[in-house]
Structures are given as C-alpha cells and as structure tokens.
C-alpha cells in the first residue's frame, strides 16, 4: 500500500510526517536539527530515501544535511558555497551598489535521474550544483554574471533564488525565480540564462514591464505539460503557455492576488492552487479566514476551499515553499503556515484537516509519495 512522507522545514528544526495512503493518521518525527532554521528539505525523485536539507542560522551560517534512510538519520554534507571569480555588486535596498555575499541556501532541487546530483538556489542569488551527493558545490556562474545582474535588488526576504523547476521532457531546460529579479530560463543545463518575464507588470519599478526586477514569489509546472507554468508574483497570479516566453494574468475573481505559494494538481494539469494573502504590508490571510483557492480552468475562475480550515480570527501567512501535492489518487494537497500548522487534504482540497497545529513557523513543505 502506498504511503506519504511530508518533509517540513521550520524556523526551529525539521519534522517528518508520515501516513499511509488514507492520509488520516500521522506519525510526527522531529524536531531534527532543533534550534536551526530549516529553509528547505527535499527528496530525490530517483531514490526517495535520499533527502537533502538546508540548515542555517544567523549565528553559525549554512550547513547542508543528507539522509540515506528517508530522514531517520542524517549526516553533514558540504557547506562551502563560493562564488566563481570576484562577484560584482547588485543593488541594495537604498539603490546603492552592494557586494554579492553568500547568506544561505533557500531551495534544494535534486535532479530527476541521479540522487547524487542536486541543485541549490542561494541568497545572494546564485545557482549551485553538486554531483557528489552535496559533498562539494560548484557555482554555475552564468546566472549571477548575467548582463542584468548588477541591476537586481533584494525583496524583503533578501536577494534569494528560491525556486528551481526542471523540465522533465528536456532536463537541460530549467526555470528559476529570484526575488526581486524575476524568472530566468536555461536551455543548456545552467550555463547560460535569459530573463523570462515578458508580460509581467510591477508597480514597484519605474519601468513597470521591464525585462528584470519583478518580485516573483513562486512558479509551478505540471510535468505532463512543461510549457505551461503558473506564477504567484508579489501581486498577480500569472500563466505562460509557451515556456515563459510570455505571461498573462489569471488572477480573475481572487479576493486578492498577493500571495506566495502556487501549485498544480498531480493529475489535472489545469487545476491550480493558491493561498491569497491580504497585501504586501499585511502578510496574513484576508478577513481572518484561511482559504485555499482552486481553479479547475487553469486560472481566472477560482473557488474558495474552506472545509476544515479556520474561518475566523486567523491571521497566518503561507510562505513560498510551503505548499505541495502528492501523486496519490485522489491528489493530496499540503501547506504549512507561519502559525505552525500543517494542513492536509486527501481529496484535492475539498476537505482539510491539520496534521499538526503547533510547530514553529513553517518555511517549507514537500511530500514524497512512496510505494
């Protein structure tokens, strides 16, 4: 019988939540790395027992962890992230030039076919790769040295590369997103990159439809339709049908189109989920109600999903890496909140229940569907 393993990164450690396919009763294991910020954990698609975790601390810096037994035990891996050459400056919040400085790993993306190959998106924004199971890391500098890089400026969370999406039909093609530079696409496994933001408009920039500078919060793809991507931008929910050569807005009837997460149903490529957040100055759900919105039409037409979610006095946020879907049927949907709850739906969002209610603030949620 299939089962699922939910990997939760929080401000104060990692947790592994396990259930059978019913997704009704859960075992909670953790905290792992207690006291450390765990920005992201993710398992290898080709070896689900191989997990990677980004462990960091304002005091002690960056640590990488690796597990070969599905998170029961962990070992420290390589944590040297050195930019190639002498990095130039990017733009600081006040508009002044600021030197590129490594701060932390935001996102780990294991390759689709090799458990020892893993990509890392870091702050200050750069793209790293390991081919030895995270023991050593090399920057692919084509992104950070892009001709526009000196104009990139940080979002509130820093100049972070937070999303990596691999095209399963052409694995040399990848998309990344940087706050606040936007989406970039590579077709040669990360050697060269080009901005992929046509159609985005952001009123935080003097040139609202500039080639770069957009605060993209998250992008998501269904593996069966890799030319279609969905985006939650700072404001606006967007969609591309041509591999990010152009984007169009699909916010439609959402109560607010600010938010962080976006994800796609495992079996319905046109079914998309977001969690609207009030605004860029009010990072909590609108009207005290925690509502996931689902579109079954690829955007524009959205329905609120509320069964089992708090509908009064709720003021949590859901951060960009904190939603995921499993591949069971019916599809399971999961998200974690700044209040420490992890909610699960075993029926594609129709009904929800908390797996846990009182973890530290949740930074990331990933799920593995296991045989």
């Amino acid at each position: 019988m299939s089962r699922v393993r939910v990997l939760v990164g929080t401000r104060k450690g990692a947790f592994v939540l396990s259930s059978d396919a019913s997704r009704k009763r859960w075992d909670v294991d953790g905290p792992h790395f207690a006291g450390w910020e765990i920005y992201h954990l993710k398992g290898s698609p080709s070896d689900p027992q191989r997990l990677y975790a980004s462990q960091s601390s304002g005091w002690f810096g960056q640590v990488l962890q690796r597990s070969n037994d599905g998170g029961k035990t962990w070992e420290s891996a390589g944590n040297q992230f050195s930019y190639e050459g002498t990095p130039g400056p990017h733009v600081w919040y006040d508009g002044s030039p600021h030197p590129w400085e490594f701060k932390r790993v935001w996102h780990l993306e294991p390759s689709l076919g090799d458990p020892d190959t893993v990509f890392a998106g870091v702050e200050d924004a750069a793209f790293f790769k390991s081919t030895d199971g995270a023991q050593t890391w090399s920057e692919l500098p084509g992104l950070r040295t892009h001709e526009t890089a000196s104009t990139w400026a940080p979002g509130a969370g820093g100049l972070c590369l937070h999303t990596i999406v691999i095209d399963p039909s052409t694995t040399d093609r990848m998309y990344i997103a940087i706050s606040a530079a936007g989406v970039f696409r590579t077709d040669d496994a990360g050697k060269t990159w080009r901005p992929a933001n046509r159609g985005l408009r952001s009123n935080t920039m003097p040139d609202q439809d500039a080639e770069v500078g957009h605060c993209v919060h998250r992008i998501a793809m269904h593996p069966s339709r890799p030319n279609v991507l969905f985006m939650q931008k700072h404001w606006d929910v967007m969609r591309t049908d041509d591999g990010a050569q152009s984007w169009k807005e699909i916010s439609g009837n959402l109560p607010t189109d600010f938010g962080f997460v976006i994800d796609v149903h495992a079996h319905e490529p046109n079914t998309v989920y977001v969690v609207p957040i009030t605004s860029d100055s009010h990072h909590f759900v609108p009207d005290g109600k925690l509502r996931v919105y689902r579109s079954r039409t690829g955007g524009d037409e959205w329905e609120a999903l509320t069964n089992g979610l708090p509908q009064k006095d709720c003021y949590v946020n859901v951060l960009r890496d904190a939603m995921t879907v499993d591949s069971l049927d019916p599809c399971g949907v999961y998200f974690g909140t700044s209040g420490g709850q992890v909610y699960a739906s075993a029926d594609a969002g129709d009904n929800w229940a908390p797996i846990v209610r009182d973890l530290p603030p949740v930074l990331s949620v990933e799920v593995q569907t296991l045989p």
């Binding site: 910020e37 304002g58 005091w59 002690f60 640590v63 040297q80 050195s82």
Partner: protein, 100 residues
Amino acid sequence: MIRVVLPANLQTLAGVGRVVELEVSAPITQRSVLDALENNYPALRGTMRDMTTKKRRPMLRFFACEEDWSDVSPDAPLPDEVVSGKEPFLIIGAIAGGRR
C-alpha cells in the same frame, strides 16, 4: 589536553556534549584550537569561521580566562591556564536572538 566549551547548536551538530577535549599541537592559539576542533568534528567547518577567510563569524564570541578574545589576533598565544587544560576556551553565541 585543551578543553573547548561549545554552544548548544554546535553540540547538536557535532554530536558531542558541552565540553570537548582536543589534542592540539603547539603553538596553542585560537587558530590552532579551532583548526583542531574542525579537524576532529568536520561538521563544524564553516560554522565558527568563514570557510575561506577564516574570519570569526560576527555573531560568535571567543572567551578565555574571563577575557574576551574575539578581536585578539588568532595567532596570539592563549593563556597558560587554557594550554594546561585548567581553564576552557569558550565559544559563545551572541545574545541576539528573539526576533525569530
């Protein structure tokens, strides 16, 4: 034998208790003690000093014999009490938490 006191998060990371004992070759300095600590516990590499420059991480302090050694040259000899093992070399996380 040199005794080093670790903060809680580094104890967890290295899988050790509050105090670790190290064989350190002379001269006994902050640099040689931290080198020995990292060699014995590779998981600690990069958590106390920058991997490349070996500069102390800004939110850590190094104490010995009731003195703050944080800004003393890493190659200065440590006090005899530390060299003899009578007093520990202390690695302290700055009191700067709370925001998160």
